[in-house]
Subunit: 186 residues, 2 copies
DNA sequence: CTTGTCTATGCAACAAGTTGCATAGAAAGA
DNA sequence: TCTTTCTATGCAACTTGTTGCATAGACAAG
């Protein structure tokens, strides 16, 4: 499982509670790794048992106490081990592609709205990435310190997200053009 | 679950056995939807129970009998229903992105080989797609018949795969350049 | 004053996906 | 001849991931 490792990375970048992790998985990290809060709480429990994370209870006034997790040496070692293992290039699960091929046995034109909806979602994601990029990665390049290494690596991952959204939008345009053409020719 | 629907699409395109489906899921369909043979057999059993597919036993000499599945009206109706439901834009699981961000807490240069390996895999996939495209989708465009609709839709999905691989390769080049730069600056 | 949202954690049940193993004959290669 | 690969199907056990629900105080909107 790589959820454990995604959590380790996120906690190394910044310690936080399960709840905070869940929100990060809806934003930055969630764009290339998704997880629900139930999953995160369960895995955190196991990781705590394995000594990969340590907890610090933080009492709060007016809201439930939170458990702030951070990563001790044992957890960082576990991450290192994983980093040195080869992994399989990702396997995709692309519902929309299945639908498009399936539309041959139904009405292809009926898919236009669905594709437009996806187009909108990806447009929004791209805009969101670009805002984040302008906010976090502009300005003069400072000399390389350990922190800048992390910043550079976060930036290259973000550039990947941007490239992915742009490619997807161009492809969805292609899909829409194809669906419109098929409808016109029918 | 969408595996059922991916199977319906594949069987509508061409009836076949569980074994044949498993192989298709390693090739064309598998590039946007993966499944192992155990999963396929199990789901086919359930779909048979639901009347979404029908079986025809085909005795063979010299090798085990095979069960050829095809899709009756009930299955096609199930597919239609799914096609008219909205779906969530896919959630990605991109191990490599997690590794890249994680490398900030280890040695980024150690990731170079892994990234190169992924680059090679995606280069091969792209080449494979391009061969398939030349084989199946070149030549003069025939007038639009129902079969051509399917062909057009398969082509636009394949173009999506090609665009994805090209984008990924460009991004991996960016990642490699970044990792080399960080190593040089260290 | 009631409804809804936010913070914060968690259990239980279920669905989906993975891994390991088993069978078994045919054909091809070492 | 022996081993491997291919065709063809399947069970059992396990790991992951999803869905529904529960608790509970604070705060904001209607």
């Amino acid at each position: 499982m790589a959820l454990e490792h995604a959590i380790l990375v996120s906690l190394l970048e910044k310690p936080g509670s399960g709840y905070e992790l869940a929100r990060r998985f809806e934003r930055s990290i969630g764009y290339f790794w998704t997880a629900t809060h139930q999953q995160i709480y369960r895995v955190l429990k196991r990781m705590e048992g394995d000594g990969w994370v340590t907890v610090r209870e933080i009492p709060q006034q007016g809201r439930p106490d939170k458990k702030e997790y951070s990563v001790p040496a044992l957890g960082q070692a576990a991450l290192s081990r994983w980093l040195h293992e080869p992994i399989e290039p990702e396997s995709v699960r692309h519902d929309l592609a299945v639908k498009i091929r399936g539309a041959a046995f139904d009405d292809p034109a009926a898919l236009i709205r669905e594709v437009e909806r996806h187009h909108q979602v990806h447009t929004d994601r791209l805009a969101h990435y670009l805002v984040g990029e302008r906010r976090d990665f502009t300005g003069p390049e400072a000399p390389v310190t350990p922190d800048d290494v992390g910043r550079e690596l976060q930036h290259v991952v973000l550039r990947g997200g941007i490239a992915y959204e742009r490619m997807t939008l161009a492809w969805l345009d292609d899909v829409l053009a194809t669906l419109h053409r098929l409808r016109a020719e029918r």
